[in-house]
Amino acid sequence: MQRIGVFVCHCGTNIAATVDVKAVAEALGHEPGVVISQEYQYMCSESGQDLVKNAIKENNLTGVVVCSCSPRMHENTFRKAAASVGLNPYLVEIANIREQCSWIHKDIASATDKAIILGKAAVAKVHLNAPLTAGESPVVKRALVIGGGIAGIQTALDIAEAGFEVDIVEKEPTIGGKMAQIDKTFPTLDCAACILTPKMVEASQNEKITIHSFSEVSDVKGFVGNFTVTIKKKARFVDETKCTGCGLCTEKCPMKKVPNEFNMGLDNRRAVYIPFAQAVPKVATIDPNYCMMLKNGKCGICSKVCSVGAIDYKQTDKFIEQKYGAIVVATGFNPIKLDKYDEFAYSYCPDVVTSLELERLMNAAGPNGGTLLRPSDKTHPHTIVFVQCVGSRCDDGKGKQYCSKICCMYTAKHAMLIREKYPDTEVYVFYIDVRTPGKNFDEFYRRAVEQYDVHYIKGMVGKVTPKADGKIDVQASDLISNEQLHIDADMVVLAAAIEPDKTARPLATMLTTQMDTNDFFTEAHPKLRPVESATAGIFLSGACQGPKDIPETVAQASAAAAKAIGLLCKNSITCNPCVAHSDELMCNGCSACEKVCPYGAITYQDKEFRMPNRTTAIRRVASVNPAVCQGCGACTVACPSGAMDLNGFSNSQIMAEVDAICK
């Protein structure tokens, strides 16, 4: 037999002014199962809580209904009070008679009637409440960082620093990412390699960090605290453990005409290669698309020159499985492809380059050894035109609607560096707006304009046409002076929009995390939880979440690390007990629930059941992982047999509330 206590709060006059609280307590006292019904001025106060606690103890209550303010306000308070005297906290229900009754109604009679009905609904529900215990699930003390750019490196270093094992999975042969390709960084103009490569080395030497380069995540199972990830280590045809990175093979390889992706295809590499001198791990990789030995079995020179016997033409992709407690996504960005932008002549004029290509052209380790030369004829350019927002802030469907955020600053940097090194070069920048929020950013841009005499022109470039004499005609409009301009340029640099890496979307599917329409990962809350995904245990680092410059990326990387460390510090995590559960005897095994679960919390297994006449049968039944389920209840409605139900909001509980209200 249920023994229910009802506690009606006056909330000073907040409730009592429009609801006759005495009448409510009186009426609810007659409800079935109610053994005590009291009102009090401030139920949430210390003495109010004591009233509830004493009533629970003295009357041996099996359920409590508090008629008070919104459960969003004090549900936890009363649950804790109940728990402190040994009543399961989930046997407490709140009837919201303040926000949803006394505060909206003026007429005392109707407000009191409504408060009684809301109280009755809560009593009807609490009759069916079951004691719930929050489950615990252990945490594997190891983190996975997907992506080995500056975001991934920083996150991994921070997590390792806190004493946890971290694995970095990087799809390229080396970690370093986009920052490794950049020449100088704004607003300080220090060399990117000088600040990045020590971090790369630090990551490789840290005992807690394992780097899986030339690898991809191929499968993710599990949930917060207990992910099982399959990592595909792509065949590089070089034994990583033997290769010393001497580079002899990369010098002797006869296949010399392979576009060098690290230099944006502006020069060539060999079929066996190390992306750049400071690569980590410094291990050669054979490109099977070009290696003659792998393609038709003829050559084998690299194998002959390798003194340690590291070359292994028979190597195949390997899959390793590892358990992790937390996963940090740091898959970064890429400049968009510019093949839709014929007006800028990018696809057929070699002297029209993207900003990232310009980084390589200006880099001391780049194709020209750091001297800025035109790709077409290797001459020094005297007039350079920069075009901003190529594919950013674009409404025509060709590009992206968002602002890529970093272009204004790196273009100011490029302009400044060029004017510094080659004062005889005229630099024009065509922009829609110059956006420079950030510490020392606007000062930086103003220096470009004021000290370095970069010609900033507000306006759009309409057409870029290569001319017979090797010059490039840039046709543009100056919106301030309202003039049409023609500039005879030697080079044109396009600030291409940036977009998330192509690997992000399939990864999001594997991780069951959300993405926006641009394929940027969505944070759990845009303001208050910016580095967590909505899926527990998955964190976001760097430009995979949105365009970011290096300082922001590093800040977010450390923030994501802090969140991951916070998770890894725990030995176990407490789960929300209001989760779905399936009645195996009723489950059809039809998979409808699995299809609507946004968290992948439902799995199926074949189970043996006892049947009539001492027989057994194998049936496919659903089971919910309570650590993953977030309790939305989508499955409970998808389930045709009603096998799926939700703790705390069960079918019968909601029906009871409906009945109480409609009676």
């Binding site: 969003r72 926000e99 007429d107 409504k114 959300q514 909601i654």
Partner: protein
């Protein structure tokens, strides 16, 4: 149709905990009026609302049922309200097909910030249901003709 001035409809509102229930709280905090006919049932997500709950409410004497959830795209659980939208569209269409008055059912997206919208929606809905009078059709759909 004759409108009975004294008719006080029973209205059941299912509200998602994260958006509409908070929106309802907000309209209370801002002291925005709507009729006391509306009784709210809290659910974790609009997708928790089984069509059976809505039918049950009508059969037990509700005159109108309204379901409120987070705006599409804002679901706390990513996709719950998208499932809700399909299920409820089909259910309401079926009730219409059976000849049940359209204005007895409604689905509205109300965010936690839209206290004013919550009150406005409820005022409108109660007024619409009042015009229809008591729910008789769905309550006794299967009663034998006299």
């Amino acid at each position: 149709m004759q409108v009975n001035e004294n008719f006080e409809p029973v209205i059941v509102a299912f509200c998602c905990n994260w958006c509409s229930y908070a929106g309802a709280d907000l309209s209370g905090t801002n002291r925005l009026n709507y009729p006391a006919n509306v009784k709210i049932i809290r659910v974790p997500c609009s997708c928790r609302v089984n069509p059976m709950f809505i039918l049950r409410a009508f059969q037990k004497g509700a005159d109108g049922v309204i379901l409120c959830g987070c705006h599409p795209g804002d679901c706390h659980y990513t996709s719950g309200n998208y499932f809700t939208r399909r299920r409820i569209t089909l259910l309401y269409s079926m009730l219409d097909f059976l000849g049940i008055e359209r204005n007895r059912t409604r689905l509205e997206w109300v965010s936690a910030a839209e206290g004013a919208k919550f009150a406005a929606v409820m005022n409108q809905f109660v007024a619409d249901v009042k015009k229809l009078g008591p729910n008789r059709r769905l309550e006794d759909l299967r009663c034998r003709k006299q």
